[in-house]
């Protein structure tokens, strides 16, 4: 049997698997949709927040940008000298408190041929506005960014934020506006007006930005350098690009490029600080060229989704577990009845047909149990019938044949095989004559007593009884199961049958039946054995010349004799104790055949027939008998008289006038003398015929049956 999974396992695998699949699909879909929704919401929120902060910064920067722009316009239309610029600066500083310092830097010698550096600068000192004049060998402002970039690009510029010159930690930025003078056709660069502002407010504005638990805002310059970041270590040291290079993160580099190009966008990337998955929304800050970024960690952003997902997952797993438990219980309850049924089947298999399966549970199971119980009942009935058949049948055939017929698939097939067997044939001498004078019930009683004994012995020797015709038995040894020593078995069986006749005769005589003698012939040879008959009526039997030969051999036996054929003799020669040898001429056999009389089997069998207590007594007054010839069990009408001159319990010598042949069967009827009634008779076989001295024949006969009255007379004679 192929090992398989239990019902519970199969149910869990199939139903559980399907349910898990559905659950995971639904779960995954839910997660993706929720995630997308949340990200979209957050993107919107981040976008609004970024734009709002960016706008706040821009408003301030715009306000500042206006001041140097208006100074620049003034510088283009009005001429000033170095000192004249001071009140202009002072006035603007006073009017614009958010501005830290204002410079008006001119090209070399622009205001005066003597002055290479002309750049008055006013700024808020501790005690009000302080002025200084920029420029000198150590401060060549013409090569400084705030001047040079506006000059070369001819456009206003916000500087890259820087820490103030004073060495403090105040973050500053400068807005530079170039101004020009007309020289003929050309609009010639003449200088730069600048406004410095502190970006402290910017830092605190961005520091206030909090998104979720650890989301934050940061600002980068035109170059990608960090202007503000919660990690002060990055500020003015690292740029987005140096981080991208350090982290080996090309995506960050790409996003950073977009940022410094003044684009706005939303991107998922690794947080620069902690390497967590994060989202970044970025937007440019007005005209400054700076870019504002807001970062929030994905874990927090998706915290609700992840939390919900975890709960769903837990519920799903719990549900699946519950389902598995239910399946286990359900399948247990189904399989319990099945297991009961299985146990019942096992008991049934061992032959306990009385077992009953409980008819409970699901309707299908109940039906199955019912069918099983019906099966058990039918089997029981069948076995009963079979046993009856076997027992009945066994009375007619041996157990081996029954076994073979019942157990072998082709046991009943018709056909035969050629096999060497030993055939045994027995017959009661004078039985027909005896029974002709008996009541039918007594015949059957008598016959059954004799046959039951003989059949018992035959069965013991595993003989197959081919046929019982009246008192005659045809049996064989060596089939259907092969038998090693079938000849020995047959002879041993024959001897035991002869010995049993003593017992049979004892009972028969007690009940007033006559004394019976049995002859047995045993022959070994090849015969055809098989199921002989038709589909409707069959017997397991033997046919062949050797069967007929055995029949003829049997006709030469006298009572109490076992004759074996030469072929049987050959097989048992060392074991046999033989008596007389008979050379007989058989019908259909050209040469005379020697038959051996077996008296016993030697060691180790030690079966012997009693020695022939057969000493003839000479009768001083011979017994007169009427002599009838018996031919084919029929008594011929010819009636001779004869004289018994010598007699024993088993044989006699007759003197008669008629011609008798050896092996002829005779009936001798007493002639109502010596107390013998008229119908008191002896059946006998002619053994030898001699010419009598006084004419006629002297015939030796052997009794095959003696009437009880006659028998007691003979005993009386012998006893005297």
């Amino acid at each position: 049997m192929r090992p398989g999974y239990s019902i519970a396992t199969r149910l869990i695998l199939s139903i559980g698997g399907a349910a898990a699949l559905i659950f995971i699909s639904a779960f995954g879909y839910n997660y993706l949709v929720s995630r997308r929704t949340v990200i979209m919401e957050v993107e919107e929120r981040a976008k609004n927040l970024t734009l709002s902060i960016s706008h706040q910064i821009e408003v301030v920067l715009r306000g500042v940008e206006g001041v140097p722009a208006s100074i620049a316009s003034l510088m283009e239309i009005q001429s000033f000298n170095n000192e004249g610029l001071v009140p202009l600066i002072e006035g603007n500083l006073e009017a614009n408190p958010e501005i830290f310092g204002i410079a008006i830097a001119n090209e070399p010698y622009a205001l005066s041929p003597e002055l290479k550096f002309c750049a008055p600068y006013g700024f808020r000192g501790d005690d009000g506005i302080v002025f200084s004049f920029l420029g000198g060998e150590l401060y060549n402002y013409f090569a400084l960014d705030w001047y040079q970039i506006s000059k070369e690009t001819r456009n206003p510029q916000w500087s890259v934020p820087y820490y103030d010159e004073g060495g403090g930690d105040i973050l500053m930025a400068t807005y530079s506006v170039p101004f020009f003078r007309r020289r003929g056709e050309e609009r010639q660069f003449a200088g730069v007006a600048t406004a410095d502002i502190s970006l402290e407010w910017l830092e605190s504005l961005l520091a206030e930005v909090r998104i979720y638990q650890s989301g934050y805002a940061f600002l980068v310059s035109q170059n990608g350098d960090f202007i503000t970041h919660p990690d002060r270590g990055l500020v003015m040291r690292e740029s987005l690009f140096s981080l991208a290079e350090a982290l080996g993160d090309p995506k960050l580099r790409l996003v950073s490029r977009n940022m410094i190009r003044g684009e706005k966008g939303f991107a998922g990337l690794k947080d620069f600080l902690r390497g967590r998955d994060s989202y970044l929304y970025y937007a440019p800050v007005g005209s400054s060229g700076w870019s504002l970024g807001i970062i929030f960690p994905a874990s927090e952003l998706l915290g609700d989704v992840v939390g919900l997902t975890k709960k769903l997952l837990a519920m799903g797993i719990a549900g699946l577990a519950l389902m598995c438990i239910v399946i286990v219980f359900l399948s247990r309850s189904i399989t319990r009845t099945l297991r009961n049924l299985s146990a019942a089947t096992a008991r049934l298999g061992k032959g306990d047909f009385s077992v009953k399966a409980p008819e409970s549970g699901a309707s299908e199971i109940r039906e199955l149990a019912h069918s099983f119980n019906t099966l058990g009942r039918q089997l029981e009935e069948y076995i009963e019938k079979r046993d009856f058949i076997r027992d009945t049948f066994g009375r007619y055939v041996t157990a081996e044949v029954v076994k073979r017929l019942m157990e072998s698939a082709d046991g009943l097939a018709l056909g035969g095989e050629n096999r060497e067997l030993t055939i045994l044939m027995s017959d009661l001498r004078g039985f027909t004559a005896l029974t002709s004078q008996m009541e039918p019930e007594r015949v059957v009683l008598f016959l059954n007593r004799y046959l039951s004994k003989m059949i018992e012995i035959l069965m013991d020797h595993r003989a197959v009884i081919d046929e019982i015709i009246g008192d005659g038995i045809l049996a064989f040894f060596g089939a259907p199961e092969p038998m090693e020593a079938h000849a020995l078995q047959a002879v041993s069986c024959a001897l035991k049958m002869q010995l049993a006749m003593e017992e049979v005769n004892a009972v028969n005589e007690r009940e007033g039946f006559g004394h019976l003698e049995m002859g047995i012939a045993v022959n070994t040879g090849n015969v055809v054995v098989g199921n002989i008959g038709s589909e409707r009526r069959t017997k397991y039997g033997v046919v062949g010349a050797q069967v007929n030969f055995t029949g003829r051999m049997e006709s030469f036996t006298v009572g109490g004799q076992v004759l074996i054929s030469p072929s049987t003799f050959e097989r048992l020669s060392g074991l046999l104790e033989t008596g007389e040898l008979l050379k007989v001429q058989m019908k259909g056999v050209p040469a005379p055949v020697t038959l051996y009389e077996v008296r016993g089997l030697g060691e180790p069998y030690n079966i012997r027939l009693p020695s022939k207590d057969d000493e003839l007594r000479h009768l001083s007054s011979p017994i007169k008998v009427n002599l009838y010839r018996v031919k084919d069990k029929m008594i011929s009408g010819a009636n001779d008289s004869a004289l018994i001159t010598e007699i024993s319990l088993k044989s006699a010598i007759l003197i008669c006038s008629g011609l008798l042949k050896e092996w002829e069967d005779l009936r001798l009827d007493a002639r109502n003398e010596k107390g013998l009634e008229e119908r008191c008779s002896i059946f006998a076989k002619v053994i030898s015929v001699k010419e009598a001295q006084g004419g006629g024949s002297e015939v030796a006969v052997r009794f095959t049956w003696v009437a009880p009255a006659f028998y007691s007379t003979i005993r009386g004679i012998i006893a005297s």
Partner: protein
Amino acid sequence: MDSMGITCRLRRWVGSIIFVLCLVMAVYGVEAREDALRKVRFLPQWIHQAQFAGFYAAFEKGFYREKGLDVEIMRGGPDLPGSEMLADGKADFATMFLFRGITVRTQGLRLVNIAQIVQKSAYMLVARKSSGISRPEDLKDRKIGLWGGEFRLLPEAFFRKYKLNPRIIPQGTTMNLFLRSGVDAASAMWYNEYHQLMNAGLAPEELTTFLLSDYGMRFPEDGIYCLEKTCLENPSLCADFAAASIAGWEYCFSHPEEALDIVMKYVYASKTATNRVHQRWMLERMKDVIRFEDAPPLGMLSEQAYMEVAAELKKGRFIETVPSYESFRFGPRGGGRP
């Protein structure tokens, strides 16, 4: 005039104090010499960065101390020119570009080169490919940012070679003008400004670079200088300082990560606005300009390279006479390329 007077008086004061100190040291120094380390002040020509990694390593790994030197590594910068600091006795050793060293020498300050560190120039001109510049010839009539002083030596030699007459824009200390497209090309040191451009979002493939040493202008740069007087009075001090510094550089090349850690320690201590990625780049490029395929041994000033630079300086009218190699060089001398 008034201030000049004060300076003179100050100098005299300082001079007498040093004199007294020298006397004190002469008296007590003899017996203290066995134990006391020789105090030395070293001035790199710029703020702390990987350009001077070898000197930091020599200090941190104890190479100076092994030579009996107690070195103070000063913070350099544009406001502290090495020539003045040496002349004023505020530093004993300083690094300078070779062209600077020659120029200063011809201007009258008797200083000598005791070791040549950087064996070829890291000077480059960078331009955006998008501005149509891919060959030297494309620089013709373009706006090019150049640093002042002797720094013009190299690019001008380059322009002469290719017969270019670009518009020179004085370049400050940042690359912002170039980044804002205020110039078409700008000056950059390969190990510094070039990478600043990377840190500002430009990619190497977007740029055309002209590394001038690739155009026949080898021009050794950083070398260690001191006054000739120092060498004459205390030749072993100079030799020891040079040897320990060279050992420091060797250590950097064999332990680049540790060297980078040492550099960052100096960078953080001086609150310099830079980052590790940038310093790593700088250290790697320093190796490229110190130890390239046919470079002279570390420390040696090639006479041929010296003569080339001096000739170029003369041609550019930065100097009038060329000091002899022998008088300029203290320590191991070399002919041409080894």
